[in-house]
Amino acid sequence: MSTFTLNGREIPFEAGETIMQAAWRAGIEIPHYCWHPGLSVAANCRMCLVHIESGRQMAMPIVKWDEKKKAYVPDTKPKLTPACQQTAGEGMVISSESDEVKRAQASVQELLLLNHPVDCPICDQAGECKLQDYYYEHQSTAKRKLTEPVHKPKGVRFGPTIVYDAERCIMCTRCIRVCDELAGDHVLDMRERGNRNEITLAQGRELDHRYTLMTEHVCPVGALTSRDFRFKARVWFLKSQEGVCSGCATGCNTHVDFDPRYGKVYRLRPRDNMAVNKFWMCDDGMMTYRRQTEDRVLAATVGRGDARVPAFGDEPFARAAAQLGAVTPNKIGVVLSAQHSNEDNYALAQLAKKLGTTKLYLAKLDAEREGWVADAILRSADPNPNTAGARLAAGGALDETTEDLLQDILGGEVEAVIALGAASLETLAELEALTKLDAVVSLTSHVGALPATASVVLPVASVFETHGTFVNAKGAHQGFRRAVASQPGVEPGWKTVAKLAEALGHDLGLGGLQDIRSKLAAAAGAGATAGGAEARA
């Protein structure tokens, strides 16, 4: 492989790669604003200027202050090159730390901050802002401009999700390129020039495609902010955990940002994974954190309708076991969930095996009913994160859905139900047949139609509160990790299933997460480790 030298270090590169790309892959950051690994090259911020010391040198004539002569004298300086645009060449000797380059970086930085309002205290980007970081790294000088900065519009509503602040904007055009190149919707552009330059919407349009939050994600400064996250938290209080989006079967990798003081999840951010989502996520995926944190089931309940009362300790398990025990075991229908992890589904499938029932069903969300629209960018046709995983846990095709369950109940083949998850194709009215059964045990993290029919509801942890694995539409097993603690008494699904099994007099023999995963991996064969993030305990 060809190499070039950057600051005395050999960097390998592939033909056609730019200096920036090769350095980024090697883990070296050349300071930049407008360059993004997933977008085209704009080379307009000039922060990534480097000095190519090999080859023919171009000199720019300048004037320089001479202290002895007390006058400006003619001089030259080397012409610098933007690293993001310059294709790497064999044997190039490049410096991004020489005095000329440092001076250029400091000057660019000073120019960008010339009219910046420096309203960091009220800016949501503060704490993760490149202007802040690079100021300390590359400038650290006081402001020389004494006049009033140019004022531009602030708090401009770009659409239902994004607010724009022109004063903070550095015109890197990343947001324009995200709309053009990722979403394929040229809704943003620039207007005016120089210090009046600002991002503007296409006439008669709003920023309302399915990837608007990515404009905020790529914005290196606080110019674009998410209306959802705006003013909710300061980022320096947030910690991050690896997650997998539960919005659809693509399984985009996420950072789950939460405040450890309150155990509250505030937002999702895409986590780079070239095999799955590259650098991106869709708006609906970004907002799944809401669905996961709202409408939770936090305590066990027993009974239906007005007679539904909370139950504590072992009581709900004992009640569930008593209700299920009154039915012939092979007439118990077991509903796995495409919204729950492999581990939860595996535990429930094992319980079905122990009970001796072969009546397995799959509860999932329906794309049409949910208003879910697939696209060729990221959004899968299946709005369930783990359909493949649930099938894997069941050890079969598992084509039977909750519709078939209703048929079997009406046909008298199923007299009791153990159901995982809150999601189902049907509404509560359509699930009426379930309410006629004496024993419907629902293990759920959220309220929904399925748990509403249950005679016993057992709470389980949500995806932010437990470790787990999803299998995406391409068969990649992707682990997510616990971000926040669950409420006392709320345990992961597989543990709750094991407890229920114990109350029914069965031992599932689940050693722990690792044990379940190795059994699942054996069942899945070689495909289990394909794809990006591996499952970790």
Binding site: P121, E148, K152, K154, R157, F231, K232, R234
Partner: protein, 197 residues
């Protein structure tokens, strides 16, 4: 070294000690003397050193900070922009702020956010003054020179936004020293697209 023992002899009891009455009389003389002095003289005479607290209070030294207050703008709104710098700096974690946004029709929209709630738990506060140092816009001060009035409930020490705004500084002022020209103020250059720059 051998221990040396010094033997002390007990002073002999006199007849007056033995009788008790003269000793009681001399004690009562001191007590009654103080009783009449306190009853008939005043603090100005220099005879009395105690205070009738809480009706009377001692003037605190000039550098005493006192409880917090929130400063106001000229229009009476809080100067605070809910940046959470104070609650970040607070070592006792006694400041709770929820930020909100000015309405889109408000001229300050975009420039400012404001505290929807601002609560200081004065019992948890250690009065270190870090919040005042952290404040970028002179919105929180500790210059009231007063301490919290005693109360019977812990809830009374959770000072909310309105309470903090209603406290004057030692000099009687409510206004911030850092008004900064706000959109809508005559000193502000104007920002919207229609009016230009």
């Amino acid at each position: 070294m051998a221990a040396t023992v010094k033997v002390l002899t007990k002073p002999p009891r006199t007849l007056a000690d033995q009788a008790y009455v003269p000793a009681i009389a001399s004690g009562l003389r001191l007590t009654m003397g103080r009783f009449f002095k306190n009853t008939f003289s005043s603090r100005e005479d220099g005879e009395i050193v105690t205070l009738m607290y809480p009706e009377e209070t001692e003037a605190y030294p000039e550098r005493f900070r006192g409880i917090h207050r929130l400063t106001q703008r000229a229009d009476g709104s809080p100067r605070c922009v809910a940046c959470l710098c104070c609650s970040t700096a607070c070592p006792a974690q006694c400041i709770h702020i929820e930020a909100g946004e000015y309405d889109e029709s408000d001229p300050r929209h975009g420039y400012e956010r404001y505290p929807v709630t601002f609560v200081i738990d004065e019992l948890r506060c250690i009065f270190c003054g870090y919040c005042v140092e952290a404040c970028p816009c002179d919105a929180i001060r500790m210059d009231t020179g007063a301490h919290m009035p005693p109360s019977t409930s812990r809830d009374h020490f959770l000072y909310d936004k309105e309470t903090l705004l209603s406290l004057p500084g030692r000099d009687g002022s409510y206004l911030t020293a850092n008004p900064r020209h706000e959109p809508g103020d005559p000193s502000h250059p104007g920002v919207d697209r229609e009016r230009g720059h």
